[in-house]
Symmetry: C2
């Protein structure tokens, strides 16, 4: 066991990501005392029942007081209010971080509330499941996934280095980039994919010519994969789109432009163009598997028989 | 062991679906002799090495001769030519079926070639994986999935009943509908989802602001799920879009219309509308899990560590 990096770690929010950080930090011996806050009493109680932390606080300032690191594990839109609430309790030298899927907006919301002697190192672990809440967390969530740090210019380099080490200990690979570049990258690798998944599930639910029961029965042909993505947490995703508007609209514009070209290919029977695209996309898939970000197991043919809710 | 339904079953094409039918028919004792054809010599040789059938034929007519049932397991666009090739060898009373993802076009291509005494029962097993070829098949592929039969008006009811039984024995649930309705249902549950998956992977590959390496590294945020769908067989999918043009264009029009509304919600910061949609889509997911077409396991957090190609 190595010495804990943070004698006291505060987690502001204890859903899927917050609870997974607690489990992973425990596994790595990276934190001494873990102080937990949730603004929802039932969630805080549940986290307590699950023994996710060491102390439980209804007031975020109580959790953050004397902490060596405070991580906001809440929807992006709540970042500013949370930073304001914890700021008076922070000790000099404390590191404040977060796990938001959007970074420029979080920097703009959080930084103004923090004192000079506090170090702000925004972070985004690119990992998750379609489930939410403290029951959903597990220690392996970040293993071999990437966590992106986006320190604003002038951030204390030692603080960045410590968060880098912390995430490595939690099992993640770590990369550093600007908040703006992060928001562009994630717009195409995560935000627009979620948006079109939500969208097609919505479209399918409102057809007159095809019933919802048919959509569900015959979903194994591709649709069910979109429903998985489209069952992610609504509050988190609303905030993502509201807070990464420009990058999402830009990437969405590209997506729509390309889709319009495909639509024309179909309308005019241009099979070669379709075949070319469908062949090129396979190479990207291979690259992702080689990069260790995906298993090669044939997931379309999922385990059968026990598919009913276990 | 029950008696084989078809003393001789011919499979025209022995890729993922053809080889899975062979394995599943064997498991169920539903076929006596299984005659295999592939127009690709290497594929036929590989099927032989894998002992998928009982006899192997370079000429589809040789495979179909004296067969009680002949199933075309080939891309939709090749259906007409295959029907023409086997037609002279078919015995009176033989059943001809297929597995194509589009049905009205297959009916139009195949029916004109078949004699009065031959029964044509088009079928579509809504099951598959992202892999292709005779090595990809397995007996469980159809278990608890749906196979849709689309007999044209006037089809011999006994022949429909036999194909119904055959697919039940292979593990599938069976439904019957018109070819036209099938094509609408699958356009939304399978064809448009594949199209937008192919499209976003193509979009991501051609950005200037985000590198391909970044797209791959940070794909766990949603994008990698689309690459799985977008690595399906290019020939099969080209043919689907060329042969289900009208239904795909109709459903794509609905998708784009809805996406444009979402885009406006984002541009104007209409969070409530986003939240409402993101909440409603969860119900559809629950329905699919309850319908036994999906497992509830948290698949975003896939098995880690061994993700590199095993």
């Amino acid at each position: 066991m190595t010495e804990p990096m943070f004698p006291r770690l505060a987690l502001i929010g204890i859903g899927l990501i917050g609870s997974s950080i607690a489990h992973a930090a425990r596994r790595a011996g990276a934190a001494g005392h873990i102080a937990v806050h949730s603004r929802t009493a039932a969630t805080l109680k549940r986290a307590h029942e699950l023994h996710i932390g060491d102390s439980y606080h209804a007031d975020p300032a109580d959790a953050a007081r004397d902490a060596d690191a405070v991580i906001l594990c809440i929807p992006v839109g709540a970042s500013g209010a949370a930073a304001k609430a914890i700021a008076p309790a922070l000790k000099p030298g404390a590191i404040v971080s977060d796990v938001g899927s959007v970074k420029a907006s979080v920097v703009a919301q959080v930084a103004p509330h923090l004192a000079q002697e506090v170090h702000f190192v925004p972070a985004h672990p690119v990992a998750g499941t379609e489930y939410s809440g403290p029951d959903a967390g597990f220690a392996e969530l970040f293993d071999n996934r990437w966590t992106i740090l986006t320190p604003p210019p002038g951030t204390n380099p030692e603080a960045v280095e410590r968060m880098h080490d912390f995430w490595k200990r939690l099992g993640a690979n770590v990369d550093v980039m600007t908040p703006e570049h992060h928001d562009l990258v994630l717009a195409i690798t995560s935000h627009v994919p979620h948006l079109i998944a939500y969208n097609i599930v919505g479209t399918a639910a409102h057809l007159e010519s095809v019933t919802q029961s048919e959509v569900m029965k015959f979903s194994a042909g591709g649709f069910r994969d979109f429903t998985r993505i489209a069952s992610s947490d609504p509050t988190m995703w609303r905030d993502v789109f509201l807070n990464n508007r420009e990058a999402v609209l830009e990437m969405l514009g590209r997506f729509t432009e390309d889709l319009t070209a495909l639509q024309r290919n179909i309308r005019y029977g241009q099979g070669e163009e379709l075949f070319d695209l469908f062949t090129r996309t396979r190479a990207i898939r291979r690259g992702i598997i080689e990069a260790g970000q995906e298993t090669a197991a044939a997931d379309f043919g999922r385990p059968h028989g026990k598919a009913d809710g276990e």
